[in-house]
């Protein structure tokens, strides 16, 4: 339906808003990638940062730190969120407990990362010092787990909820126990959704800085244990900008981060599309 003349202006503005959003994204990504991509080389990825983050050095130890911190966060958050989602969706009715848990997860998701960081600093860095080694990979990862949890819990729950009831009834009707139905029918069907939740949580953990700033310590050396202080890529980027004033390494680091986030976006987008198609085909 063609818009009338009097509608050209508002409709044009709406088109403009949509295009502006796209342009903003492209400008930000293109700017950083165009300056950062040429800097990324095998040397850049496998060399340790210099003492003062000077150009010509790499970001090897910071990549390692990001992987370690994110890994700890996922190892803690994944079983909790998937287990929690199964419990909430398969074993409880819509009751008070469920409402309370969901509300709590929602609140947790809305808490600013700096406050989660303050909590992680008090609890993991100071209170649990003998176990976590103070500022360390472990403290940082455990703090991040609190940020990953609400995301992956909610998305896992949505995925389980989207599994048609007939599948469960069919499985139970064939004589499978409840647990057998969950492990052989419900979980495989909901798997793409659950994985999406975990990958999105991973993206949050990779990109998080404020909470890491207060809990991970920021030492640039290669980590040897979970109790070593570490400096993930995001924190390194911040430190370069505020202390070393070396924008070359900063562009490279930012480009690596953006590539990681774009990869995550594409994978989750693709997973969710295939999941929706799969459910429609059932």
């Amino acid at each position: 339906m063609a818009a009338k003349r009097s509608e050209m202006v508002p409709m044009g503005l709406l088109w403009g808003a949509g295009i502006a959003t796209l342009v903003i994204l492209i400008v930000i990504l293109a700017y950083i990638l165009s300056k950062g991509l040429p800097l990324i080389s095998w040397h850049f990825l496998t060399t340790n940062p210099g003492v003062r983050g000077q150009a010509g050095t790499g970001i090897y130890s910071t990549i390692l730190a990001t992987v370690a911190v994110t890994g700890v966060a996922l190892l803690v958050a994944a079983p909790l969120s998937v287990g929690g989602a199964i419990y909430l969706n398969e074993y409880t009715r819509e009751n008070l407990l469920r409402k309370v848990i969901r509300q709590a997860a929602e609140i947790l998701a809305g808490i600013p990362s700096i406050i989660i960081g303050l909590f992680g600093f008090l609890f993991f860095v100071i209170y649990l010092l003998p176990y976590t080694g103070g500022w360390s990979v472990l403290s940082g990862g455990l703090t991040l787990a609190f940020m990953v949890l609400p995301i992956s819990l909610r998305i896992s729950e949505e995925a389980l909820k989207a599994v048609p009831g007939e599948l469960r009834e069919g499985s139970l009707g064939l004589g499978a126990t409840k647990w057998q139905s969950i492990t052989t029918v419900v979980l495989p069907t909901a798997l793409p959704g659950i994985v999406t939740g975990l990958i999105l949580g991973m993206g949050r953990a990779i990109g998080e800085t404020a909470a890491i700033l207060l809990t991970a310590g920021g030492a640039l050396g290669v980590i040897h244990s979970l109790r070593d202080p570490a400096c993930p890529m995001t924190l390194y980027l911040y430190n370069i900008l505020t202390e070393y004033n070396d924008t070359t390494t900063a562009y490279g680091t930012a480009a690596v981060l953006i590539i990681a986030i774009l990869a995550i976006t594409f994978v989750t987008d693709w997973l969710m599309n295939s999941y929706t198609k799969k459910l429609k085909g059932l």
């Binding site: 409709m11 502006a20 609140i107 808490i111 600013p112 303050l118 008090l122």
Partner: protein
């Protein structure tokens, strides 16, 4: 929570002068009453409200575009783009703002460039994904019959958007704006890099400003004793703001528009 256990006693002791005082000299142990965070709270509010004032209209317009107007091909590009925008780490936004927005402001308007305006620009971009995705969902949830009824009565598509779609989706739109506000007030790294972080009440939008989040992040590294407790108390203040916003968002999303 642990943060409260550290922050609340300090709040109780320092009392209202903590919230209303305007001098912040945490490392000067001789200056009595130098724990005023009023400029910092005000800074957080100025930065947040400005960002929402810029980001909300753009975000809502983009949501209408996505939900109603965009051809499927455009939508297929724009939806993942919005989620990519949501996934970009905040420190990367800050980096971009520091290297592009700040020098631009410095060149155009003078001053340091690290300013209220720089925060507004980058935060308004950062809250776009929140506003767009939640608003779009609520607009898509509006029953087709409403729109079809309106169009069948001879209303044009813009009239339908304005007087049927937006009112029907208003609770979702309001929720999205409030959550965007929460994201803006809680944002740390981008603000930390571009705000300038001087604890004064900014006298123009080109003046540096300091926010709750940035001050905590900046000073936690070296704070000890009472200073550290004061920072935790600021965390408590921030938490209260977030709780108020979450409560409002819940209220807004519960409100149903009936015809």
């Amino acid at each position: 929570m642990f943060v409260f256990s550290q922050g609340v006693p300090f709040l109780a002791e320092a009392g209202s002068s903590f919230l209303t005082g305007s001098v912040w000299l945490p490392t000067d142990s001789f200056a009595a009453g130098a724990w005023g965070i009023f400029p910092i709270i005000l800074g957080s509010l100025i930065v947040t409200l400005g960002a929402v004032a810029i980001g909300a209209p753009l975000g809502i317009a983009c949501a209408v575009f996505l939900a109603e107007i965009a051809p499927p091909a455009v939508r297929r590009v724009l939806v993942p783009s919005v989620s990519a925008l949501a996934g970009v780490p905040s420190v990367v936004y800050g980096f971009f703002a520091l290297l592009v927005v700040v020098p631009w402001i410095r060149g155009q308007f003078g001053g340091f460039g690290t300013s209220v305006l720089a925060c507004w620009i980058i935060l308004s971009v950062m809250i776009l994904p929140t506003i767009i995705s939640i608003s779009t969902d609520s607009m898509r949830a509006v029953p087709r019959e409403y729109k079809e009824g309106s169009l069948a009565m001879g209303a044009t598509s813009w009239q339908t958007i304005r007087s049927v779609l937006i009112p029907a989706a208003s609770s979702g739109i309001v929720t999205s704006v409030i959550l965007g506000m929460g994201r803006a007030i809680g944002e740390t790294m981008a603000v930390l890099l571009v705000a300038g972080n001087s604890v004064t009440i900014p006298d123009s939008i080109f003046a540096p400003v300091s926010t709750l989040t940035a001050t905590i992040a900046l000073e936690m590294g070296y704070a000890t004793g009472a200073h550290q407790q004061a920072l935790f108390a600021m965390g408590v203040v921030l938490f209260v703001f977030i709780m108020i916003l979450t409560g409002l968002a819940n209220l807004a999303s519960r409100r149903r528009v009936t015809f």
